[in-house]
Symmetry: none
């Protein structure tokens, strides 16, 4: 799952960069290592990574300046700065540019990984699993479409897509009613529960073409999607 996460690392010290890269790769991240800000900028435009780890002091283009440029193109991508400096003013500058976290050298790999996971969970988790297969269907969650074999994609609504995502992520196991309700509706009162029932019906209809797929109710507990 993590192998889908792509991190762009900009660090001019080759040895340190190597260590970070390898260390992150053992955690199943895909890492691109650039040795200066200019290279990182070019790579960012080509590859569109999920997260950036930028050294502040680099040749050609420093990390702050690089982050500033990146923010003109993308408001949300998480940025972590690495810096040898410790003055408050630098931290401030990093954050005003739009950095999300800040790590002072020397730091432990554990620290870096904790921060990366933090940021990815905050921003990235929801859109993580891009395109899923359910039996003979293809479920594109970001686009909210459900495609049977090679037919025309069927457009799902926001609620349908989210509910289906939950079911698929927990397929072949019982999903607790109130768990889904709390996650998607915010609370599990009577009316929301009935609303969910309606959506279960809708999903069943849209999944009817593949008879191997079923949304099974477990009375008093919840639902499970089998396929």
């Amino acid at each position: 799952m993590d192998k889908d996460i792509h991190i762009l690392l900009a660090e001019d010290e080759p040895a340190l960069g190597m260590i970070i890269k390898e260390s992150l790769e053992t955690r199943n991240f895909k890492v691109t290592h650039c040795l200066d800000g200019q290279a990182a900028w070019e790579n960012f435009q080509k590859q569109e990574p999920h997260l950036l780890v930028l050294d502040v002091m680099m040749p050609k283009k420093d990390g702050f300046s690089l982050a500033k440029d990146i923010r003109t193109m993308n408001d949300s991508i998480p940025i972590i700065f690495l810096t040898a400096k410790s003055q408050t003013q630098d931290v401030v500058e990093g954050f005003t540019i739009g950095g999300n976290d800040y790590l002072k050298k020397p730091f432990s790999m554990e620290e870096l990984i904790v921060r990366i996971n933090n940021l990815l969970n905050r921003v990235n988790l929801q859109k993580n699993s891009e395109i899923l297969k359910i039996g003979q269907f293809t479920f594109d969650f970001p686009k909210q479409t459900l495609t049977f074999q090679n037919e025309e994609p069927l457009q799902l609504t926001h609620r349908e897509a989210h509910l289906l995502l939950h079911l698929v992520k927990n397929k072949n196991q019982v999903l607790d009613r109130s768990l889904i309700l709390n996650k998607l509706w915010g609370n599990d009162d009577f009316f929301n529960a009935r609303s969910m029932d309606v959506f279960i019906t809708k999903l069943r209809k849209k999944l009817i073409q593949d008879s191997n797929i079923q949304i099974i109710n477990v009375r008093g507990y919840g639902y499970k999607l089998v396929c």
Copy 2:
């Protein structure tokens, strides 16, 4: 022009607060001075200022806690913290809450004013000089053009370009309606919301050539551009 800018100042030390208030007023800002966090909170709800200057250590409600509450209502209003502390950790805390800048006491008025102007410029006239790719389109924001592959560039209007820029900068994630409205229109009343709907329609039409690009509505929340 500056006389339209309203700053909410929360500073419990009356003398210092007075100095700041008067100093900002000579720069043509409209300033409301509150002596504790509780008063500032009430005032914020009533007046909806353009920028906040918050002391961190205050009676009744400290600046961090106040900022946290304010961020639940408004993601974008710039917040500057004033603090006597100088530890990096406090700075980090301030920024993770959603502060935009940080000023360590004692500071000069000039410093404060530079930062205020910085933040206001960033919010008001986001200067951008980049060329973005959206699927098979090239979006030149400064020129306000949208080019499909090698065809003739399509001219966008000012509103179209700004709206598209926001969507692209936050692509693949849901962008809050009222956030866009507040940024581009200044407020999120009914009529502006309908106006935005019209522009969404216009953008969809202009992006129709690449079927992988979609502006998806999330009922009650906002839009996301997927590509």
